[in-house]
C-alpha cells in the first residue's frame, strides 16, 4: 500500500501540492491525471526518493522496488546497446553461477512476456517509439518491481501501439498483482484500463471515478 498523509511539496516559495491525502492499494491499477505542471512527476520522484518532500508523510510497504517507465530517455540513433543488453543494465552484478542462470531465465521470460524476443538483438537506438517503450518497461521488470509507474509512457505512440503496451501492463497487473500508477493525458485509456484516478488540481489531490474524468482536467 502507498499512503500519503498531509503530504506537501514546495520548490522554494512555489507550492506544487499541499496537505495531500490518498491511498493506493496493493495490486491496484490507478490513473493519475491533471494538467501539465500539476505535480504528477514530482510525486513520482518523491516516491522514488529522487526528490525530498517538504512536509507530511508518504508511506510505502515495500521498500524501494519501483519500476519506472518515463516518456523520455536519452537514447539517440547512435545508442549502441541492443534491447537485451539495455534490459540487463538493471541486473545486479554476480559471479554466482546459479544466480547468473536465474538472471538469464528471468531476462528471457521478460523478453517473451513483452514480445521482444525477436527484437532482442536490435540496437535500441534503431527501435521504433513503441519498441523503445516496451524495452523501458522490460528493463523496469528486470528489477522485479512491486510497483510500476508509467509517466506519460504512452504519450507519443500510435493508438494501436498504445493499446498493445497497455494490454501488456494490464496482464502484469492481473496475473502478477503488480501495482500500477498510470500517469496520462489520455482520458480514453484511463477509462479503458482503470477504475479510479487521482486528480491533481489546485495544489491538491482528489480521488475520482474514471467516468468523472473530462478533457478540461488536462488543460
Amino acid at each position: 500500500m502507498i499512503e500519503a498523509k498531509n503530504l506537501t511539496k514546495k520548490f522554494g516559495k512555489q507550492v506544487v501540492f499541499k496537505d495531500v491525502n490518498f491511498k493506493i492499494d496493493d495490486g491496484e491499477f490507478v490513473s493519475i491525471v491533471g494538467r501539465n505542471g500539476a505535480g504528477k512527476s514530482t510525486l513520482v520522484k518523491i516516491l522514488m526518493g529522487l526528490e525530498k518532500k517538504t512536509s507530511g508523510e508518504i508511506e510505502m510497504d515495500h521498500q524501494g522496488r519501483i519500476g519506472y517507465v518515463p516518456q523520455f530517455r536519452n537514447i539517440d540513433l547512435d545508442y549502441p546497446l541492443n534491447i537485451e543488453q539495455f534490459m540487463r543494465l538493471n541486473l545486479k552484478f554476480t559471479l554466482n553461477p546459479q544466480k547468473r542462470r536465474k538472471n538469464n531465465e528471468n531476462v528471457q521470460a521478460i523478453l517473451k512476456q513483452t514480445n521482444l524476443l525477436d527484437l532482442k538483438d536490435r540496437p535500441l537506438g534503431l527501435a521504433s517509439g513503441g519498441e523503445k517503450q516496451k524495452a523501458y518497461l522490460a528493463q523496469a521488470l528486470v528489477g522485479r518491481p512491486q510497483v510500476l509507474i508509467l509517466d506519460e509512457s504512452t504519450a507519443s505512440l500510435d493508438v494501436d501501439v498504445k493499446v498493445q503496451l497497455m494490454d501488456l501492463v494490464q496482464k502484469l497487473n492481473q496475473e502478477h498483482g503488480l501495482t500500477v500508477l498510470f500517469i496520462t493525458h489520455d482520458s480514453d485509456l484511463t477509462k479503458r484500463y482503470t477504475k479510479r484516478a487521482l486528480l491533481f488540481e489546485d495544489h491538491s489531490v482528489e480521488s475520482i471515478g474514471v467516468d468523472e474524468i473530462s478533457e478540461d482536467m488536462f488543460e
Binding site: 522514488m48 526518493g49 529522487l50 524501494g64 519501483i66 519500476g67 519506472y68 518515463p70 523520455f72 530517455r73 536519452n74 547512435d78 549502441p80 546497446l81 541492443n82 543488453q85 539495455f86 543494465l89 538493471n90 541486473l91 545486479k92 552484478f93 538483438d121 540496437p123 523501458y136 528493463q139 523496469a140 528489477g143
Partner: protein
C-alpha cells in the same frame, strides 16, 4: 626493438596506459564527456608545467590539477549548455597558465614539447612503476563500480530510478578520468591524450552492442594503436603520437563506414 631498455619501459608503460584508456573511453563516450576529457588534458598541461616550475614531477602536477578541476566540474550545475561554456572558458585560461609556468621555469623548451606532444624516450623505470600503479588503481576502481557505472553511463534515468547513487558514481568516474588523462599524457602528450580516451570507445559503438564487448573492442583498438605506434616510431624515428592518432582516426572512420554499410543492407 626490445633490445633497448627504454623501449621495454615504454612498451610496458604504454600497454597499461592503453588498457586504462580503452576502458575509461567507453564510459567517457557514453557519458558524453569527450569534450570534458579534452579540457582536462589542457588543464593537465598547465599542471605539468606547474610541477616543473615548483620542482615536483610533471606527472604529480598534472594529477593535482586534473583531480581538483574534475571534482570542481562534478559540483558545477548539471545544466549542460552552461557547463560546456564555462568549461571552455576555464580551459583557455589553463592553456595560458601552462605557457606562463613554462616560461617562468628554467627548464628547456624540449621539456614543453614532451609534455605537449608526448615522448617515448626518457621514461625512467620509476616513472613506469608509477604509471603502472596508477593504471592498476583506475582499473580496479572501475571493476568494483562496473555494474552501477555501466547502468548510469548507458541509461542515467534508469539508474536513478533503480535507486543508484548517481552523484557518487559521477564523482568516482571523474577521478578515474583525471588519473587516466594524467597517465595517458605521459606517452601521447597532453595535446592528444583525448584521442586515446575517446576514439577507441567511439569506434567500438559502431561495431558491437553490449557493454563487455564495447570494453573489449575499445581496449583492443587502443592497444593496437599504441603498440603499432611504438613500433613505427622506433623504426622511423617519427613521433609516436602521430602514428597512434592516425591509427585511431582511420579505425574510427572504418567503423563508421561499416555501420553505415550495415544500415543500408
Amino acid at each position: 626493438m626490445f633490445g633497448y631498455e627504454f623501449m621495454r619501459e615504454a612498451f610496458i608503460a604504454s600497454t597499461f596506459i592503453a588498457i586504462t584508456a580503452g576502458i575509461v573511453g567507453v564510459f567517457v563516450v557514453s557519458r558524453n564527456m569527450s569534450f570534458l576529457s579534452h579540457t582536462l588534458s589542457e588543464i593537465g598541461f598547465a599542471g605539468a608545467s606547474f610541477g616543473i616550475l615548483i620542482g615536483i614531477s610533471p606527472l604529480a602536477g598534472m594529477i593535482l590539477f586534473t583531480l581538483i578541476s574534475s571534482i570542481a566540474v562534478g559540483s558545477l550545475s548539471t545544466e549542460s549548455s552552461r557547463r560546456e561554456a564555462s568549461i571552455s572558458a576555464i580551459s583557455s585560461l589553463f592553456i595560458g597558465l601552462g605557457i606562463l609556468f613554462l616560461s617562468l621555469s628554467s627548464e628547456s623548451s624540449s621539456y614543453a614539447t614532451n609534455i605537449l606532444f608526448g615522448s617515448i624516450v626518457g621514461i625512467s623505470s620509476t616513472e613506469v612503476h608509477q604509471l603502472m600503479i596508477l593504471a592498476i588503481f583506475v582499473i580496479v576502481v572501475l571493476f568494483i563500480c562496473y555494474k552501477p557505472l555501466a547502468f548510469d553511463s548507458f541509461d542515467h534515468i534508469g539508474a536513478q530510478a533503480s535507486g543508484l547513487n548517481t552523484r557518487m558514481l559521477s564523482v568516482v568516474f571523474l577521478i578515474t578520468l583525471a588519473l587516466s588523462v594524467s597517465i595517458g599524457a605521459q606517452i601521447v602528450g597532453s595535446l592528444l591524450v583525448f584521442v586515446l580516451l575517446t576514439l577507441p570507445g567511439a569506434t567500438a559503438r559502431y561495431l558491437v552492442h553490449s557493454v563487455p564487448k564495447l570494453l573489449m573492442v575499445s581496449v583492443g583498438l587502443s592497444l593496437a594503436g599504441v603498440w603499432l605506434g611504438l613500433y613505427l616510431a622506433f623504426v622511423t624515428n617519427w613521433p609516436v603520437t602521430f602514428f597512434i592518432s592516425a591509427f585511431e582516426v582511420i579505425a574510427y572512420f572504418i567503423g563508421l563506414s561499416y555501420k553505415n554499410w550495415k544500415l543500408s543492407h
